[in-house]
Each structure stands twice: as C-alpha cells, then as structure tokens.
C-alpha cells in the first residue's frame, strides 16, 4: 500500500512537471524585452484585436501602435459584450484560433476566462502602476475607467440647477426637475453601476430602493438605449440624463454638442473593459508587444487622447482638453463596485429598476 501511494505521489509530481513543460518552454520562447518582442513580432507581421469600445477611437489607437512599431498590422474587430466571449469560446472549442488580444467589457467574464485557463499569464512592465482594482492577477488589465456622470444640456439647465445636481445624487429629487430628465433601464455595465451603488447594503440608509422610487416619481423619460437618451438631451428634448458616463459625453462635447457633466460623490468609477492576451494567440509576440504598449505611459496617453476616458494608469497627467475647462471637476470620492454582488444581482437589480420605473407610470 505504501509503495503504491509513494509511486502514485511521484507519478503525480512527474505528470505535473510534464504538464508544466509547455508553459516553461513558452516562458523561455517569449522574448522578455520590447526590443526582442518587436523583432519576433515583425516576423508575425500582424495581430487581431477583438475590442469592445467605439470603433473609430480604437482604430486610431491601433494606428498609433502601427506607427510606433512599423511592420505590425493591427486588425481591429469590434465585438461587444457577451458576443465576444461567446465567439472566442466557440473558436476555442472548434480549435480555430483567430484572436490575439481580447478586450471584454465585463470583469466577471474575464475572471472566468482566466480561471478556465484561456488567457495568457503576461505581466506588463508597468504592472505596478495599476491599482489592484484595475488588474486581474498578471493576466488582464483595465485600460480606462468608466464612471457615472449626470450630463446636462447647457441651454436647458441653469448654473444654480447645476450646483444642485452636483451637490448629491439626491439633487435630482428637487421638484424643479420633475419631468425634465432622461433615465435608462438598459442592461449594461455603466448603466448598472449607479443602481449597484444605490442598492449597496452599506448605503441602504442613504439611498436604497426608496431613493429609486423617488427618482421614478420624478417622471423621467425612460430609454431602453442609454445613448439614445443622451442624444435626446443633446437635441434639447430633455434637460439632462440621470446618468451616462464621461467617455461618451466627452466625445460628444468635443464634437461641439451643448453639454457638460457633473459627477456627484461618491462616483461609481471602475474598470469596465478588460484587456488580455489570448492563450492561443496566433501571433503571441505581436500580442504581447501590443499589450505592453497599451499599458505603458505612452499607450495610456494615446488612449486618453483618442478615446476620451481617463486612464487607469497612475502617474499619467490628464492631458485631455476637457480637463482644462473651468467647469470640469475631477472625481472627489470614488465608489468601487463589489463585483461578486454585481455578478449575482445584476439582472435582479436591473429588473427591479425597470419595475420601479414601470410602477411609477
């Protein structure tokens, strides 16, 4: 018996070492500096990036990478939300590997991909400049923050009213705002973040379900697509959105739209889009080089300029045009979502929000 147990133990250890060999070989094979990576990546010639942000800004980001590293073409495919996860997993199951870089707008999904071993363990050189809330082990990183902002039409909301809205999330309950704003019951991460905060058991006394009911009693216009609601605020159909996010508002503001935004405290602010290298990347060196560049100071500045959202990387100056505006105020106090509760309560909470809005009609 002892002999059998002894043999079994050693056989298991041996198998473990054998199983680790490909990974060790990979670690040996992957160059460890950008210069070496670039040399290897040039031989691969291209990489495929499944991204979930707006197409044009992300193409601009890819173009900057191509300028920095000539000879490597970035093929950008916009595949959003759950469709990216499902497509990637179907490709994995069919052993048809196309993608090098994944960029998924759902943290629990990225967690699942990492746990299930579909994402390469690749620690970027600037790893330590990302707060733990913006990275998952040494596998995935969030490259920009998604916050919640009240976006208002400057021709419709007075400076005095702006102060009320900025003072607290409860400012919206002021009777003067009745019937003047738009909300959304869309099921998306940025749409849920504030609901998640309002229903946080720790904030039950301040907000909770009662607060949501009071918001609904203000008779807002309800949009199932959050960006249509924002579009209608820009047009002047409603005076403000209760809430969207800064990235999209900034894009519209740069186009000249008559909008500004405020972010009451605490402000939900989190990494919504997570980027990682696929374990099955057909262009592993180009993918790792792109990941390193994306999460470097240079990549962060490019993303900030092209996309308009604040970077998650610490120590990078906010060089966006909007940051120089007198009306613009940085976030005072962040609210970090609890992603375990997020994952379990998302649908229930959003269905509750829809019901509250429906009941108030």
């Amino acid at each position: 018996m002892m002999n059998e147990s002894f043999l079994a133990r050693w056989a298991t250890r041996l198998l473990g070492v054998v199983a680790l060999l490909p990974a060790l070989a990979m670690a040996q094979a992957v160059p460890n500096t950008d210069a070496k990576l670039y040399d290897a990546a040039k031989k691969e010639g291209s990489l495929v990036w499944y991204e979930s942000g707006p197409l044009e800004p992300m193409k601009d980001v890819a173009n900057e990478f191509e300028k920095k590293y000539p000879g490597i073409k970035v093929e950008v495919l916009r595949i959003v939300g759950v469709q990216q996860y499902q497509r990637f997993m179907q490709e994995v199951q069919a052993k048809r590997h196309f993608v090098d870089i994944l960029h998924i707008s759902d943290k629990p999904s990225m967690d699942t991909l990492i746990t299930d071993g579909h994402v390469a363990d690749w620690k970027v050189p600037m790893h330590d400049r990302f707060l733990p809330v913006f990275r998952i082990k040494t596998h995935a990183y969030a490259n920009y923050t998604t916050d919640n902002a009240i976006v208002y039409n400057v021709n419709k909301v007075t400076p005095e009213e702006v102060k009320i809205l900025e003072s607290s999330w409860k400012g919206v309950l002021d009777p003067r705002f009745k019937g003047r704003f738009a909300v959304s019951n869309m099921k998306c991460g940025a749409c849920y973040a504030s609901i998640h905060m309002f229903l946080d058991p720790k904030m039950k006394e301040t907000y909770g379900l009662d607060f949501l009911k009071k918001v609904a009693a203000q008779k807002p216009a309800v949009y199932s697509e959050v960006l249509v609601g924002l579009d209608r605020v820009i047009a002047g159909e409603h005076d403000f959105t209760f809430w969207t996010w800064e990235g999209i508002a900034n894009t519209k503001w740069l186009q000249g739209a008559p909008i500004r935004w405020v972010r009451p405290s605490p402000t939900p602010d989190f990494g919504n889009s997570w980027q990682a290298v696929s374990k099955y990347a057909p262009h592993p060196n180009a993918a790792r080089l792109f990941q390193n560049w994306s999460f470097s100071a240079e990549g962060a500045v490019v993303l900030q300029e092209k996309y308009g959202s604040a970077t998650t990387m610490s120590g990078v100056a906010d060089k966006r045009k909007v940051a120089k505006e007198s009306w613009y105020h940085p976030i005072k106090q962040r609210y970090n979502p609890d992603f375990v509760r997020w994952d379990s309560e998302f649908h229930r909470d959003m269905d509750l929000w829809s019901k509250v809005l429906q009941d108030a009609r």
Binding site: V48, G53, P54, L55, E56, K59, E75, V76, L77, R78, I79, V80, G81, V82, Q83, Y85, Q86, R87, M89, Q90, E91, A94, R96, F98, D106, P108, S109, T112, N185, K187, C188, G189, A221, V222, Y223, S224, E225, L227, V228, L230, D231, R232, I234, A235, G236, E237, I248, T251, K252, Q255, G256, A257, D343, F346, H347, L357, Q358, R361
Partner: protein, 567 residues
C-alpha cells in the same frame, strides 16, 4: 430494383441536403440550446428544463409574447390594407405615373429598421422633432400657437414606424402577382354586368389570396420577431415584446442563453402555426390559378372620379414612408450632433468625407454588393425549385422540405446567429465572406420558398403539361415555361432578398471578420457607439446603393416592376 431519378428530382435531393446543412442544422442547435442549464457566460453541459419551463409557463414571458403578437397583428393589418390597396391601384388601374410610384412605394425597404428609426426619432420627437418644430414655426408665423402634433415615443409611434416598413413587402408581392394574373375571369365578370368594384372584391382579390396571405404571414412573422423598433421606442411607454427580452437575455452578462433559445423556440412555434395555416388555406391550389394557357390581357380599370383618392393614398404613403424619413436621415447626416434644426454652426459634410476615407469602407461596399447579388440569386433559384417540387410533385419529402425551409425566418436573428456560428465555425469557410453568403441563404431562403409557392399556385399546370407532351425534359419545362411565366414574382423575390441581405446585421455581426466587413455591421458599430449622425450618413449611402442595385437588376433582367397591366 432500379432507381430512377429525373434531373429535377436529383437537383431536389442536392438542394434538400444543402438546406439541411446550412439552414436546418443551425436551427436544431438553436432549439437544442433551450434544454441546458445556464451558467453566467452561456450554457453548461448539463441538461435542464428550467429555461423551457420558465419561458413557456411564466406570465412574464407569455405576456411579452402576447405583446409581440398584438403588435404584429396591428402592423400586419395596417400593412395589408394599405399595401394591397396600393397594389390594386398601381397594378390594376389607369392611374398615371405608375412607373415612378412603383419604385417609390418599395423604397422604404431600402432603409434598415435602425437607420429608419434614427430618422424617425429626429423627425418625430415631441419637443425637438423636425416635424413638430416646423409645424409650430409655421403656425407661429401665421399668428397662432400649435401644440406638438407628432409623438414617436408612443405605442402608436411604434405601430406607425413598423407599418411604414412593412407595407412595401406586401405591396411588392401582391403587385407582382396581380401583374402576372390572367384577367379572363375579370373580363367575364364585367361582361356579365358586375361593376368594377364588384369585380375587384369578388374576383380579383380572392384570386390573389395566396400572394396576400403569404405576404401577410411574412410581415406578421417579421413584425413579431423585430426587436429594434418595439424595443427602443416601446420602453418609453412601458411595454416589452418577446424579441426585445430575447435581445436582453442574449446580450447582457450574465447571459440567459437557454431562456433566449426557449423564447426563440416559442416564436418558432408561432411561425410553424402560421405556415401550417397558410398551407391549409391555400391547399385547394386550383382555386387560385390565375395564369393559364388561354389567358388574354384586358385594359386596366378606369378610376374616374376615384383618381383623387388613389393619388391621395399613394402620395400620402410616399410622403410618410419615403420623403419624411429620408429627409430626416439626410438632415441628420449633415449635422455635427443632434439638434431640432440645422444651422450653419452645426452643418458639416465631414461624415461623408469620413465615409470614403474610412478603412475597410470600400471592402465593405464590395462585399455587401456581391453578397446581396449572390444570396438573392441563390434564394430565388433554391426557393423556386423547392416550392415547385412541393406544389407540382407533392409528397411527404417535398412538402416537408418546403415546410422546414421557411422556419428560420421566425427565429430572431440573435438566437439563430449563435446556431449559425456554431455550425460554420467548424468549416474551413469560417473567417471568409463565403460564410456570410451561407448565413444569408439560410436566413432568406424562406422568402424564396414562400413567395415562389404562392406564384406557382397561381400558375395552371396545363402549359407545363403541354411542353412535357411535346418532349421537353423536366428541367427544360422549368427553364422555358414555368420560370418565364413567374418572372415578375421571381424578380420581386430577388430584389427583396438583395435588400434584406444588404441590411442583414444579426448574423453578420457574429460571423464577420476583418476580411469580410459588410456595410450593415460598420453602420451598426457607429450607431451602437452613439454616433448617430455618422450612421445616418452611412444609411444615406446604403439607401443610394440599394436604389442603384434595384435599377441595375431591372436593367439586367429587362423587367420593370412597374410594368402596367396595359403593357
């Protein structure tokens, strides 16, 4: 024992295998997905009835289904009444200008629902819609106050926008059938003393029943499975339809894929019922024969004093379905951002400049065009042969193929798309534009089958029998007799499928790669990111492209849809 196959029979067997592989297998996968336990990212490997039980028995999901059925019924009724009325006016009367009107009446099909919706949001919003702003300004100029008259954010708004979209297919398929109809019975009716109206109601319309029913069924199914317009406008007035719930279940984390598949199956059952009913009603095919070997053409009905009403009907539709939304789209495309009116400050041509400098745009235009032409041709040919065998060689196998071939039309694209992805990812075609072609054929073959069937039902077999007695083979009969007689109907199907292919999104977005970009996916990326003005510009380009394709097709086939009965 010696097996004997005619050439047509052999062709049918090949087609049956193709239909099974490209359309039915994804459908089976779609239905099968309903019977698994859900995990947050999709399905586990464990079987479960939870989703099916939830969807098929819960008041919530059945309520959503009821909302979809009610909406589809209202839209279908309105579309059939107006579409058939316009088909009669333009296909059977002496109204001047039919040639131009014909193209204008089918123009709403050139807009995708999403771009059309952008246009109607810009046109029909209460405070800032172009229509209300213009009317209120005119009233003010005339010295009185006018409240906003139009509100697209209402239940009526949903029905209105969908009605404008779905009237054109009813018109297209009915007018095609009317134009290929033998008028001998009408002539007999009129020589027996019946008035023009009595002839219309007692002879012409009943004879068109297969075409009207198949277009009504098509519209009902498409309206019942549409999620964009009811989803985006409906939420503001507090109603949810089943397709919108399917969209939510299948696109947001944690995904409810089994629920989406079960709800898709519910819509599939609805379609099965509809197709079965249609087949039952048109079972007595000889009752609907409108083209025989002894036909002659009569002169069109004279409208007389009714001309004014006919003009009002057609021009009113063209104003609401073409002029207003296309103007709205055009104005939106020239704006930097949304506003109640265009001013020099917000006027821009940048979106158009950007379109033609955009990476992949030329590839997307080229892919969209050839995919539309090939999928259109394939669906016409396959649909025609399947229906021909169904009607002329009725047997269990031929009828079953015709029946199951139309079912994919009922499953919402998002759910069916997952099935398509699952099947095609395992082929060498995955990653190329050819996989999109297969997906389009799978999705649009039902239109080919349904419409060809109604066309064949209206065709008397005596001419085919004569040809066969003269020694022609089955294929020769099809090529020389049946297809030429059905030319107008088949061209209508070709045009319709081409337009649907150009607008197709749900499968394309799941299957496209860098090498197989198409216009609809590019447009959607901009709309989804909130860049509605740029999407409007792409919508305008897309509309022009569809118009050119239709004109080109008509030139190539030398068939004018507007060809009058007077010839």
């Amino acid at each position: 024992m010696k097996l004997r196959f005619s050439a047509a029979g052999l062709l049918w067997v090949v087609l049956a295998a193709a239909v099974f592989a490209i359309a039915v297998v994804p459908l089976i996968y779609t239905v099968d997905a309903a019977f698994y336990r859900e995990i947050r990212t999709g399905l586990s490997s464990e079987r479960s009835l939870t989703a099916v039980v939830n969807v098929f028995t819960s008041a919530e999901y059945l309520g959503f289904l009821w909302n979809a059925i009610l909406l589809a019924t209202l839209v279908t009724l309105a579309s059939v009444v107006v579409g058939v009325a316009m088909a009669l006016v333009l296909g059977r009367t002496d109204l001047p200008g039919r040639g131009v009107f014909d193209l204008l009446v089918i123009m709403p099909m050139f807009l995708s629902p999403f771009t059309g919706l952008i246009a109607w949001i810009a046109m029909g919003s209460v405070k800032t819609g172009f229509i209300n702003v213009t009317l209120i300004s005119i009233a003010k100029w005339l010295g009185f106050d006018l409240p906003p008259l139009v509100n697209i954010w209402s239940y009526a708004g949903v029905v209105w926008v969908m009605f404008l979209f779905f009237t054109s297919p009813v018109y297209l398929f009915t007018v095609s059938s009317l134009r290929s109809m033998d008028t001998a019975l009408e002539e007999s009716s009129r020589t027996s003393g019946a008035t023009a109206m009595q002839t219309l109601l007692r002879i012409t319309l009943p004879m068109q029943l297969p075409a009207i029913l198949s277009s009504a069924l098509l519209v009902f199914i498409l309206a019942a499975e549409m999620y964009t317009i009811p989803g985006l406008i409906g939420s503001t007035v507090g109603f949810t339809t089943l397709p919108w719930r399917i969209y939510q279940d299948s696109t947001s984390f944690p995904v409810h894929q089994a629920h989406a598949a079960a709800a898709g199956t519910l819509l599939l059952l609805l379609a099965i019922l509809g197709v079965w009913l249609q087949r039952r009603i048109t079972r007595m095919s000889s009752r609907y024969v409108t083209i025989s070997g002894k036909g002659f053409r009569s002169s069109p009905l004279k409208l007389g004093k009714w001309k004014f009403f006919a003009y009002a009907l057609v021009l009113g539709f063209i104003l609401c379905a073409d002029v207003l939304p296309i103007a709205g789209l055009l104005v939106s495309s020239l704006m930097k951002y949304s506003a109640p009116a265009i001013t020099t400050e917000i006027f821009t041509l940048a979106h158009y400049a950007q379109i033609f400098t955009l990476q992949n745009m030329l590839d997307a235009l080229w892919n969209t065009a050839w995919l539309a032409v090939l999928s259109g041709a394939a669906c016409v040919l396959m649909g025609f042969i399947i229906s021909y065998m169904d009607v002329r060689r009725p047997g269990r196998a031929t009828q079953m193929l015709a029946f199951i071939g139309v079912l994919p039309v009922a499953v919402p694209g998002l759910v069916y798309g997952i099935g398509l992805l699952w099947v095609y990812i395992q082929t060498p075609l995955y990653g190329t534009a050819w996989v999109l072609l297969l997906a389009y054929i799978a999705k649009f073959l039902p239109y080919g089958i349904m419409t060809s069937r109604s066309g064949i039902l209206q065709l008397h077999p005596e001419m085919e029998e004569s040809a066969r007695m003269s020694g022609a083979t089955s294929l020769k009969v099809l090529q020389a007799v049946t297809m030429p007689l059905m030319k107008t109907t088949l061209i209508a199907v070709l045009v319709f499928v081409m337009l649907q292919s150009i607008k197709e999104l749900s499968a394309s977005v799941l299957l496209y790669t860098q090498k197989s970009q198409v216009l609809s996916v590019l447009t959607w990326h901009y709309m989804d990111a909130g860049n509605y003005q740029f999407a409007a510009a792409v919508g305008v380009v897309q509309t022009v492209m569809m118009l050119l394709l239709v004109v080109l097709t008509r030139a190539v086939f030398r068939v004018k849809l507007e060809k009058s009965v007077a010839g």
